[in-house]
């Protein structure tokens, strides 16, 4: 098992040291993140798993500069996010970060194409047509570009959101349960695209998921519990993820365990993902 913290600083695109996030004060205070040290590798798809309330979303938000940590440092692509002014944070989000939310990712008044190019428009950057085409073809939405979000299916909407997150060639894309609302087929589309964006387009992606099958698309899975990193898995398959979850949950209350496993429902049979994974890039 590789060290959780890569001290060399070489292959990492984003990292956190001693990250603490506390909500509320005094008695009612919740330590959502309780001293997290983590590195996300460049050119990899990293998945984050953990029971509900373990701090996954909080970690993503802190990494993406959407939330300010109570203590600790966050570095993204060599810059200290925690020390940035609102203005610089905004610029960082525009140019070097991509973010995909669990739901509601698109501006309803804009077409799919306009939604995809929105970060570039905001940044007044010039659109790299070739890259745009690559991304659009990768998400398979070429014939849907003129459609409004209401005219797209949930999976298509999430793929548009992924395309938007990638179109400005950000250093890293954070995706918080990008497939949380989707059925297995649609999540397959989205996850396949994320994986290919890493393998073929050289992007770095971090995603949160509750679904072992989804996690099996990743190069690496990190496990979070009670605001701490508690485990890691390289080259995961659905089975190894399930096993890891079972191991981690052994010392914990069953309810928590069930909650974390109950969420992915009706997913593809275990095994296929591993097989696909072994074959490298996943065909859509």
């Amino acid at each position: 098992m590789r060290a959780l913290v890569d001290t060399s600083g070489e292959g990492q695109i984003a990292s956190a040291r001693g990250l603490v996030k506390t909500y509320g004060k005094g008695e009612a205070a919740v330590r959502a993140l309780d001293g997290v040290d983590v590195d996300f590798a460049r050119g990899e798809l990293t998945a984050i798993m953990g029971p509900s309330g373990s701090g996954k979303s909080t970690l993503m938000h802190c990494m993406a500069g959407l939330d300010t940590p109570t203590a600790g440092t966050v570095m993204v692509d060599g810059e200290d996010v925690g020390r940035m002014s609102q203005r610089r944070l905004t610029r960082l989000r525009r140019t070097r970060l991509g973010f995909v939310f669990q739901a509601f990712n698109l501006i309803p008044t804009l077409t799919a194409e306009e939604n995809i190019t929105l970060p570039l428009d905001i940044a007044r950057g010039t659109l790299d047509r070739a890259w745009f085409d690559t991304v659009v073809d990768a998400v398979g939405l070429r014939d849907r570009l003129d459609h409004r979000p209401t005219e797209l299916s949930g999976g298509q909407q999430q793929r548009v959101a992924c395309a938007r997150a990638l179109v400005s060639r950000p250093a890293v894309v954070f995706a918080d349960e990008p497939t949380g609302n989707l059925d297995s087929r649609s999540s397959g589309e989205v996850l396949g695209f994320l994986r290919r964006s890493v393998d073929e387009l050289g992007q770095s992606v971090v995603m949160v998921t509750h679904d072992p099958t989804a996690a099996s698309y990743a190069h690496r899975v990190l496990f979070l519990a009670d605001g701490r990193l508690v485990g890691e898995l390289e080259q995961p398959t659905t089975e190894t993820v399930l096993d890891a979850l079972r191991d981690l949950g052994a010392g914990r209350e069953a309810a928590d365990h069930d909650a974390s496993l109950a969420r992915p429902s009706g997913h593809a049979a275990p095994g296929t993902a591993g097989a696909r994974h072994a074959a490298g890039p996943v065909p859509r």
Partner: protein
């Protein structure tokens, strides 16, 4: 369900406050109008009460002309002064005092005329020591021509004190006087300037022929008014009949006076109520808009209620209950604000020297009407969205992004289109000039155009705003595009927000066109018709006769032609007539003669204005019986003229005019001055200025300045109009604020998302501002377009009334459009700051 409704208000307090504010403003205007009216009316009836205290009045029997308009008093024949002694001798009569009154100008301590202008009147009264209505509070009663006493408020306004020397213009002459006393009526006199003279002097000046308007009779002991009248009739019946005089009870006279006051005030309050109605109408727009949006936002909540078994009626009722609360709260606060408004106005009036009655009256009627109007408007405005919310099937509402369903849109567009077309057709027909009374049709057409446009607006919003937004979209990528998307996504909302502004702006546009056209028309008239070199006018509307005479003797003045004005009756109907020297038409006035010749004036014939001649069917050669306060003449129509400089129906030669109108009642409106050949205008003007300076109120003008003066008066009216319209625009701005705030609340998650993908705070604020400006500019363009379009038809319709020239004040309209941009930016400030302050994470996870 009521509890659900009330909780709803509590949890969305912010958004309801804006609706409350809208109701408040509208109702404040209504309540303010009513109580202002009541206050004025009570001020005047108090004045009538305290100044007209006689038990009976002897006056000219025949009201030879009823007041033809609100600003014209009834014309009566006079009664001889000799009658006073006979009346006083009747058994049971204590005193009989002739009411002798006439115009006067008082020069204040600062050397300017006291209360000169179009405002409250300035007049002199004979002070009878035994008169019960007046009380000498300081000094003594005046005796002789060189002494006056002043009414308390007049004394204060003049800056003079008892014992000071002053000057008055009396009987057309500048007279030095001493202020010897202060007299009070015991009630505010509403800004009137009142100077008291001793009865002998007053009689000499105002009743040289021995005719007075009336004689006040006071009973001896407590005889009731009816009995006094009885006794006078019994004792003097035949004498009175012979003199064409009558006796009326004090109460009857007071009632008549009060009725006249009411008539004038009625006109004023109708005018104000029109603006109140506009304010409320605009307010209703905002209320409807607010409810439409809040209802839409809470669609899921209602769907949930429906799903757990609430009936559509219950949902409907719960929304109406909220509207009821908003309406009543807004109305109650509005009544309070109205009282505040009137209190402020009274302060302003008092500063301007017009003291009004002490307390602000707030009767049950005012409160009831205001609250009722505010509440009904609120509930009615909320009914439409409430109905829609109640009838939306729960499944549909449960869906995530409730699309704006607009089933009625086609019907509405069709109705709007028909109304617009009908309105335009009606206006077109009215302008053709075939109709006798085009005003009605024009009004109906205008209403059709306005309502049609309001209904049609949602249909044109997408296309219109795409065009309007084009510059912003190109210049500010992608902010312009985002803003455009936001204003076009719910056309109906944008249309009604803009509609509120449209109404006010339509009136602004129309007023601007009317004002400039009026100014241009008068200028044209003055330039076309007046050939005089200089003109003498007075701020009190009456040039002192002595001043006119002195100016006539100035070196270099070839002729000074007087234009005297009075009311006479022709075959029983009151008409304004002017008396001129026949020669004026060869020197100073060049007017169009339609038929006959003006030279006939010299032969004792009259000239008649074309409009009047057409209405009455008079033709050259007809005999008219003309009656004035001093006598009756039978005159032949010698000419039919068409003049706008002389806007009166009847032109008489000076000799006939003198026989009809007693000298004390004639008013010199203006003096036309023609220079002697070879005289230098500037030199003569300087000499004239020297002569008229002591008269304080008299000014000398050339034609250019005369036109400017009229233009200034129009501008003053325009300012008042704009101030009133400003209120409807303030309400409309509130509407934009409201709509923006609600639409931002509606798309909180979207805003969070935009921020998450890198939209800066300032950029977000810019998007909101562009939306606001687009809405404001759209409303203004529609409104100004309609206003200008409709007002442009008026010169064709009302050419006969003096509106001959159409001038569209483009630069002024440009300023209005610029103002719309400013309004848009201002309206955006609060919502934009709120949007920019949203925390990205909170916004994204907003439900």
């Amino acid at each position: 369900m009521t509890r659900v409704a009330l909780r709803g208000i509590r949890s969305h307090l912010g958004r309801f406050l804006l609706s409350v504010l809208a109701v408040l403003l509208g109702v404040a205007f209504v309540a303010g109008t009513f109580s202002l009216r009541t206050m004025m009316s009570s001020t005047f009836s108090e004045l009538v009460e305290t100044s007209t205290v006689g038990d009976a009045y002897v006056r000219g029997a025949e009201q030879i002309a009823a007041a033809a308009s609100a600003d014209m008093a009834a014309v009566r024949t006079g009664v001889p002064l000799d009658l006073v002694e006979e009346v006083a001798a009747v058994d049971g009569i204590g005193t009989a005092l002739p009411e002798i009154t006439g115009p006067i100008v008082l020069v204040g301590a600062d050397g300017t005329a006291v209360a000169a202008g179009n405002g409250p009147p300035s007049f002199a009264l004979a002070l009878h020591p035994e008169e019960p209505s007046t009380e000498l509070v300081a000094g003594r009663a005046p005796t002789g021509l060189g002494e006056v006493a002043l009414e308390t408020a007049t004394l204060e306004a003049s800056g003079l004190a008892v014992g000071d020397s002053a000057q008055v213009v009396l009987g057309g002459e500048l007279t030095p006087v001493d202020v010897v006393g202060e007299v009070s009526f015991g009630a505010p006199v509403a800004g009137a300037t009142i100077v008291f003279l001793d009865p002998v002097t007053a009689t000499e000046v105002f009743a040289p022929e021995g005719l007075v308007t009336s004689i006040a009779v006071y009973a001896e002991g407590d005889l009731d008014e009816e009995a006094v009248v009885e006794r006078l009739r019994a004792a003097l019946g035949p004498t009175l009949d012979g003199l064409d005089a009558e006796v009326a009870t004090g109460e009857a006279v007071r009632d008549e006076t009060r009725a006249q006051v009411e008539q004038i005030l009625g006109f004023v309050s109708t005018f104000l109520l029109v603006f109140a109605a506009i304010a409320l109408f605009v307010g209703a727009f905002i209320i409807a808009n607010t409810f439409q949006m809040t209802v839409r936002q809470r669609q899921r909540e209602f769907a949930m209620l429906r799903a757990i078994g609430a009936s559509p009626a219950q949902v409907f009722t719960s929304i109406l209950v909220q509207a009821l609360v908003v309406g009543m709260l807004g109305s109650a606060l509005g009544v309070g604000a109205g009282v505040g408004l009137v209190a402020g106005l009274r302060e302003v009036f008092a500063r301007m020297g017009m003291e009004l009655s002490g307390q602000i009256p707030l009767d049950g009627f005012t409160v009831l009407v205001s609250v009722l109007i505010g509440t009904v408007v609120s509930v009615a405005a909320a009914a439409v969205p409430a109905r829609r919310a109640a009838l939306t099937p729960p499944v549909e509402a449960m869906r995530d992004d409730v699309a704006a369903h607009d089933r009625g849109s086609v019907i509405r567009a069709v109705v709007g289109g028909l109304l617009l077309a009908g309105g335009v057709a009606a206006v077109a027909v009215a302008t053709l000039g075939e109709l006798d009374e085009p005003g009605m049709l024009l009004g109906a057409g205008a209403a059709g155009v306005v309502i049609g446009t309001l209904l049609l607006a949602p249909t044109v919003v997408p296309a219109a705003l795409r065009v309007l937004a084009a510059p912003a979209v190109l210049a500010l990528r992608p902010l312009g595009g985002l803003a455009r998307g936001n204003v076009t996504r719910n056309p109906r909302r944008t249309a009604s927000t803009a509609g509120a502004l449209m109404i006010g702006m339509a009136l602004v546009g129309a007023a601007a066109v009317l004002a400039t056209s009026t100014q241009a028309s008068t200028r044209a008239i003055v330039e076309n018709e007046s050939t005089a070199d200089l003109l003498l006018q007075s701020a009190t509307m009456a040039v002192p006769a002595e001043a006119a005479r002195e100016v006539g003797e100035v070196d270099g003045v070839g002729a000074a032609d007087l234009l005297e004005v009075a009311t006479v009756t022709v075959d029983g109907d009151a008409r304004t007539a002017i008396g001129v020297e026949a020669g004026i038409f060869t020197r100073a006035l060049d007017i169009t003669v339609v038929e006959g010749a003006l030279e006939s004036l010299a032969d004792g014939e009259v000239a008649v204005q074309r409009g009047t001649a057409e209405d009455e069917g008079w033709a050259v050669g007809d005999e008219l019986e003309v009656r004035g306060a001093a006598g009756t003449l039978s005159l032949t129509v010698g000419a039919i003229i068409d003049s706008r400089a002389i806007g009166v129906p009847l032109v008489l030669a000076q000799e006939q005019y003198g026989e009809l109108v007693p000298a004390g009642q004639s008013v010199i409106d203006s003096v036309f001055i023609t220079l002697a050949t070879g005289a230098e205008v500037e030199e003569v003007r300087a000499a004239i200025t020297e002569v008229i300076t002591p008269y304080v109120v008299v000014t000398v003008l050339d034609n250019e300045e005369f036109a400017d003066q009229i233009a200034d008066q129009v501008d003053q009216i325009l300012v008042i109009l704009y101030a009133l319209l400003g209120l409807s625009i303030v309400i409309a701005v509130l509407g934009i604020v409201n709509t923006l705030a609600l639409s931002i609340a509606e798309r909180t998650r979207e805003i969070g998302l935009l921020r998450a993908v890198g939209l800066g705070r300032f950029q977000l604020a810019t998007v909101v501002t562009i939306e606001s400006v687009l809405t404001a500019v759209f409303g203004t363009l529609l409104g100004v377009g309609i206003g200008v379009g409709l007002a442009a038809t008026l010169p064709t319709v009302y050419a006969d009334e003096g509106l001959t020239t159409l001038v569209v004040p483009w630069s002024q309209l440009g300023v209005v459009l610029g103002l719309a941009v400013v309004v848009g930016v201002l309206a955006a400030v609060w919502p934009a700051v709120r949007a920019a302050r949203l925390d990205v994470l909170d916004a994204v996870s907003y439900e």
